[in-house]
């Protein structure tokens, strides 16, 4: 449906806890090939016309602290196999975690039996776009330092230092966390592909809270980090990756957690003292640490072809970007400044892989070109609907135990082509709000009406920042909002945001995805005041 509700409370503990050392041991691809061949042969002998096998080892590490305490260090792994088959024109799927030959063959038989049973109630037989086999190939995320190899003490020392810095600068409470993911994925199909991939993700984050006991008010300021498809190098600060000069320091491909917490503790106090916003129309200057989520919800999701076609109608919803709008080749999604690209290759992004979860080599393509809707996101059994003879490689499953389906690639707003930095944008704003960081978010099931909040709101009057605001949320219609995009800053300001927890599907699965942009200017957006009394 969208990014997970309470991100920290929805840590996807797919797996079971394990020893940290076990996480560093790898499974031999030759063994995985042998197991996959057992499944491929068993399914074929039971009548499958196509089979793919995913053998996944999913490693997670969570380091959880608050104030001066390490609350938990958890290592989990989930290891098993998912077998997907086509039989009688219908999909069937079975998953197991006991990977002996007999259990694998039995599961393959169950998958075929389910497909044949379900074919009774199928009115649209599956049509698969052709896909050549790649033979035995592999892909590894280009990380510099494997975070799973970094000693736990180095991680807890950093988080406790972050907490101490925040407390010293006025915080009453801080929780800080580090989430690490390593997906060791093996894919094999009856097309002749045997693909071994190694994917890494990291997300350091914190939430600082300050309380005013006299008024009973409290406020929080969350980290301005982004979850990334990187190793531990993301946490090794580099001056060249800092953007200074704005009201707060912002980070590109390296994050200075200690610095952000130090500044954040001061800012949370400023937030509490800020004036409550007056509802009305404002120009919005949206930083990439905020805009990624608006892109995710209002562009990423409505261009998912499975939503457009109705496959998510019972849960995540459908899309206002219906096929007739795409076929017209002139649907005015946004202003001329709006160029949005789908990308499964971008280094350091959460969505970067060599091949998707149905063995398709990944790429990059336009979704919105000069403001016009030009394409969607597809997988093998959807490509024919767009007249394509190949999938765009958007298939993903969050675990071996769940069936793969269409998931969002990285979807990013391209930077403006003429030199422009946020400070110049602000000079052109008479009455506006500069929003940094993400917070509350909600959008309807066809992606028309949305509401977003941020971490830091700065009031702009006559081209200057005059102070902080509180109680801000903006509401808009997707098409009107993107048509109000007056400018996008140049590539020097480009940064990635993203989420570990994009939820979709039944049973619900999460997916990690990045969204890049430079700071952008939107004119005349409706801002509401969210203060209430209870």
């Amino acid at each position: 449906m969208g990014v997970g509700a309470s991100m920290l409370s929805r840590i996807p503990v797919f797996g079971s806890p394990i020893d940290a050392q076990v996480a560093l041991e790898r499974i031999d691809p030759a063994l995985k090939k042998r197991m996959a061949d057992v499944a491929l042969n068993a399914a074929r002998s039971k009548g499958a016309t196509y089979t793919d096998v995913r053998i996944g080892r999913y490693l997670n590490q969570y380091v959880i602290t608050r104030e001066d305490k390490v609350q938990n260090v958890v290592n989990t792994q989930s290891y098993g196999m998912g077998i997907r088959v086509l039989a009688n024109g219908c999909w069937g799927f079975a998953a197991l975690d006991k990977l002996d030959n007999d259990s694998i063959a039995k599961a393959a038989g169950i998958a075929v039996a389910i497909a044949k049973e379900n074919a009774r109630i199928q009115s649209e037989p599956v049509i698969l776009a052709p896909q050549k086999g790649y033979g035995e190939v592999s892909w590894k995320a280009p990380i510099e330092r494997n975070a799973f190899e970094v000693p736990i003490k180095e991680k807890t020392d950093l988080l406790l230092a972050v907490n101490a810095a925040a407390m010293k600068n006025g915080a009453n409470y801080i929780s800080s966390n580090m989430f690490l993911v390593n997906e060791q994925k093996y894919f094999a199909s009856s097309d002749g592909s045997y693909i071994d991939q190694d994917i890494h993700r990291i997300w350091p984050t914190f939430s600082i809270t300050k309380i005013d006991p006299k008024t009973g008010k409290f406020a929080s300021r969350n980290a301005l980090s982004a979850p990334r498809g990187m190793g531990y190098e993301y946490l090794m600060p580099r001056e060249s990756d800092k953007i200074k000069g704005a009201p707060t320091t912002l980070y590109r491909d390296r994050y200075d957690m200690l610095e952000d917490a130090t500044v954040g503790a001061v800012q949370v106090g400023q937030k509490m003292a800020a004036k409550s916003v007056e509802a009305g129309k404002y120009d919005l200057i949206l930083d990439p640490s905020h805009l990624w989520l608006t892109i995710h919800e209002s562009v990423g999701h409505p261009t998912e072809l499975d939503r457009v076609l109705g496959y998510e109608a019972n849960f995540a919803g459908t899309s206002f970007l219906t096929l007739d709008k795409w076929e017209s080749k002139k649907f005015n999604f946004g202003s001329k400044n709006v160029n949005i690209v789908a990308d499964k290759l971008q280094p350091g992004s959460l969505g970067a892989v060599g091949y998707d979860d149905e063995g398709v080599k990944c790429g990059q393509w336009d979704l919105i070109k000069d403001g016009v809707l030009v394409n969607y996101q597809t997988i093998r059994d959807q490509a024919h609907i767009l007249g394509l003879n190949a999938s765009q490689g958007c298939c993903y499953a969050d675990n071996w135990s769940d069936v793969q389906f269409q998931r969002m690639p990285n979807v990013s707003l391209q930077p403006g082509k003429t030199p422009l930095v946020p400070a110049d944008m602000i000079k052109n704003v008479e009455k506006g709000i500069y929003i940094i960081g993400d917070s509350s978010f909600s959008i309807d099931q066809q992606r028309y009406n949305f509401q977003f909040s941020g971490q830091l709101y700065y009031e702009i009057k006559d081209g200057k920042i005059v102070g902080m605001l509180n109680d801000v949320a903006y509401q808009a219609n997707t098409q009107e909002f993107w048509n109000s995009c007056a400018a996008v800053a140049d590539k020097s300001d480009y940064r990635l945001g993203g989420s570990f927890f994009d939820g979709k599907g039944q049973p619900e699965q999460v997916s990690a995805v990045s969204h890049g942009s430079s700071t952008a200017h939107f004119k005349g957006v409706n801002v509401i005041n969210t203060a209430r009394k209870i």
């Binding site: 003490k153 135990s401 039944q506 209870i534």
Partner: protein, 445 residues
């Protein structure tokens, strides 16, 4: 293999425990078998069958804890897993909030969380249940999308201080969205039960079909404050954010809607209308849940809000010990008391108002006031002089369940419902609320 009996589970966990050399050791063993079918565009799309079992071993030396897991259950594998957990504990930083493991607990009579009929569901039965739902769509010239899933399994725990708990469970979950051919009408129904016999996919799909047909051709009315009737499926998604926020620690720390200025909490104070009483009961016949919490504490009947007054807050064992109070686990099996009116009678007694059948994409806006935003979805109707007059377009709302329950006008007969946001079930009455805040219109159907 995935569903072990109580004796089999205890015996396997005892075997693992026999290898422990730690100060304390706890074993948990969980297994499940699950099958599902997903459909859309009046046709099956994906399906699944998942079978898994795993054991988790927690070993502690002092306040240092190590946890590991295993899904191979021969002696060598079990012993290696126990040694791994102990090694990890030695390497772990001390957790000052670590609490010693609990001894044997009394959980009272069992709750009926398991029905064999659900565990025995075959792929053919699942297909037949979905076929019945698809037939409703075809008969009414509507387009159906839906999901059916059955799960059965067991959870168990055993520790070196003698705690043992074991529960078998089953669950069958169904939801369907039906849309008119032109896409201008949409209806939804969802149910969740323990027993197969309760899951009438034909009947529930017909409810969704009626809403789809009835919501076709919705008119736009101005956003603003309206009297609303929230059906249970709509009410639960706001109420679960109220009873799910009754946390003592955040209230004590001054960062909850229950915190008071100059310290202290609203425990014992009236925060909502006096007709609001919310309790949890693991043995409620209409909503059986586990008689023990995840960490092995007994779950008993507890009143959380009584006649509008906050009576109980949940806490961790650490926080309870620090504050010198009894530990109270997070509620399961929540029931909100109601009135005697049916939904139809609530509508009949409404001069002007809006019937909301579902709320969606609920997100917190302000924890200070428990303000949430979200939208109506799949059937919203204008009521005048006690009758549904016409379907209306969907709204975005910004509202707090605390404010909402202070603006309570009437309660209907409670019924079991399931949250489409959290998948948790509760027994909730339909509610008529004054001055519910709709802040903008949505074009979504």
């Amino acid at each position: 293999m995935a569903i072990l009996s109580e004796d089999e589970a205890r015996s396997l966990m005892k075997r693992a425990l026999s290898f422990s050399k730690a100060d304390e050791c706890a074993i948990s063993l969980n297994g499940s078998e699950s099958g599902n079918i997903r459909y859309a565009r009046n046709s099956v799309s994906t399906s699944g069958n998942i079978n898994q079992i795993s054991m988790s071993i927690s070993s502690a030396f002092g306040k240092k804890l190590g946890i590991t897991t295993v899904n191979e259950f021969d002696d060598a594998s079990l012993e290696k897993a126990v040694r791994d957990a102990e090694e990890l504990a030695h390497l772990a930083p001390e957790n000052p909030e670590y609490m010693p493991m609990m001894g044997p607990q009394e959980f009272g009579p069992p709750s009926r969380t398991f029905e064999q009929s659900t565990a025995d569901i075959t792929p053919k039965q699942r297909t037949d249940l979905v076929a019945a739902s698809l037939q409703v769509a075809k008969d009414n010239k509507l387009t159906a999308a839906g999901f059916l899933q059955n799960t059965s399994g067991f959870n168990s725990v055993l520790n070196s201080r003698g705690l043992f708990a074991y529960t078998k469970f089953s669950d069958i979950n169904f939801s369907a969205t039906l849309k008119t051919a032109d896409g201008k009408g949409s209806g939804y129904a969802t149910r969740d039960y323990e027993a197969l016999a309760d899951m009438d996919t034909l009947k529930f799909t017909k409810i969704a079909a009626q809403k789809a047909t009835g919501s076709n051709g919705a008119r736009a009315i101005e956003p603003g404050k309206y009297t609303v009737i929230l059906e249970p499926a709509a009410g639960i998604v706001l109420l679960e954010n109220l009873y799910g926020s009754l946390d003592q620690r955040s209230a004590d720390e001054g960062r909850s809607f229950l915190s008071k200025k100059d310290g202290g909490t609203k425990l014992g104070e009236k925060i909502v209308d006096e007709r609001v009483t919310i309790y949890s009961d693991p043995r409620h016949p209409g909503l059986p849940t586990f008689t023990w919490s995840g960490d092995g504490q007994p779950q008993v009947k507890r009143t959380w809000i009584e006649k509008g007054v906050v009576k109980t807050l949940f806490n961790s064992r650490y926080w309870a010990a620090k504050k010198g109070v009894e530990p109270v686990p997070y509620p399961g099996g929540v029931v909100m008391e109601g009135g005697t009116q049916t939904l139809a009678e609530l509508i009949k007694g409404t001069e002007k108002g809006i019937l909301v059948t579902r709320l969606w994409y609920i997100r917190e806006v302000d924890p200070q006031t428990l303000l949430y935003t979200g939208l109506t979805r799949d059937g919203t109707f204008y009521i005048e002089n006690g009758e549904i007059k016409f379907p209306i377009k969907n709204f975005r709302f910004n509202e707090s369940p605390v404010i909402m329950l202070n603006n309570l006008d009437a309660l209907g007969i409670p019924e079991r419902t399931v949250s489409a946001e959290s998948n948790s079930s509760a027994i909730i009455p339909p509610m008529r609320i004054r001055d519910f805040t709709f802040s903008s219109l949505s074009d979504a159907v």
